[in-house]
């Protein structure tokens, strides 16, 4: 089952291997704190901040897998 199938199965109340996990949703200050605490490889805070997450600044929301923290970031 890939992420696309998992998304539709979750949204459709169907059997799935697990619920689809939405990406982390973080304040910029949170990312800055975690970087100070040793988090590597995070995109700029702006890419995952409230500003780029709101519809006024973006029409498309791509919601990829977020299996475990830090493995893949959505840029939402």
């Amino acid at each position: 089952m890939n992420e696309l199938q998992r998304y539709h199965a979750t949204a459709g109340f169907e059997l799935t291997d697990r619920a689809f996990l939405l990406p982390p949703w973080l304040w910029g200050e949170t990312v800055q704190r975690w970087q100070r605490e040793g988090l590597p490889g995070i995109p700029t805070w702006r890419a995952i901040s409230r500003r780029t997450a709101k519809p006024n600044s973006r029409w498309r929301c791509k919601a990829p897998m977020a299996r475990t923290f830090g493995r893949r970031w959505s840029g939402r």
Partner: protein, 323 residues
Amino acid sequence: MQGPYGPHLWPALERQVISESDQSWVVRDEEGNTVRLFKNDPGQCMPHWVEYPMKDRTDWETIIKPRLDAKIPGRHPVGADLDRLVADYAKRDDPLGLWCGSLYGWPRSFMGVEGISVMFYDDPDLVHEMCEHMADFAVEILTPLLSRIEFDFAYIWEDMAGKAGPLCSPATYREFCLGPLSRITALLHKHGVHHIIIDSDGNNDVLIPLWLEAGVTGLRPFEVAAGCDAVAIRKQYGKNLIIQGAIDKRALAQGKEAIEREVLSKVPWLCLQGGYFPQVDHLVPPDVSLANYTHYSQLLRAVVENPERYLHEAKRKGYFHAV
């Protein structure tokens, strides 16, 4: 995709710094808001609003409405740009969503809560006109995209509630927003987009029946601090409502025991019901340490992979009571 595409004010207004002090700048931003940005807030995530761009019909007709025009070039991809997107998205194996605008949230952003609240009574014809225009605009801008790209879900942004409930009554929302909203959802359903999620912070419980009536199928983010109870909502609405969020952000700052209690009290049961996307109920705040979030993330992953086991665990520990 970012830049000019999408349902937002376009072309943007020119950003101007109006004044500066040791602590802050006063800026007129790209959407016409006059805001005070604090220099000690590096992300400038929470500006202080000084003035909204719209006060009356003249502002609507000269500032806002001309920038909600689907015919302005650059508003959406065309020609080779659209062909390239279509080809790119056709190969994806992850879900693709579409922001579809707003019916209450935008007028609130243009006028402020007080402004829109007064306008409902002082100039209801103008509010009707705005909502109908925003639906027309959304339909016009989304139709060519929906005709070429298979989207998996859609978001509609309202952000229209606080802890005590919505910022307008259900009757007011029905009168002004529900019809235009229904036209957008009808377009989405017609093009096979059946997962239509309202994004609205705060406690929106009394609006859920209206949204379902209008063709919406889900809601996020169910803020626990606002009294939202996703388990109760699932019991009430069954499989008629997709739920996203509902995990109390405040618990993540408290430590492992609080995180375990919060996650196990709802996630296993909700996952077993289906239609649930676990997520923190708003942006994760900066009082959450990386260690706590890592623990939360690992626990969440384990729970969604084996909700039966963790529901048993939740009952054993008294975190979840049998339905």
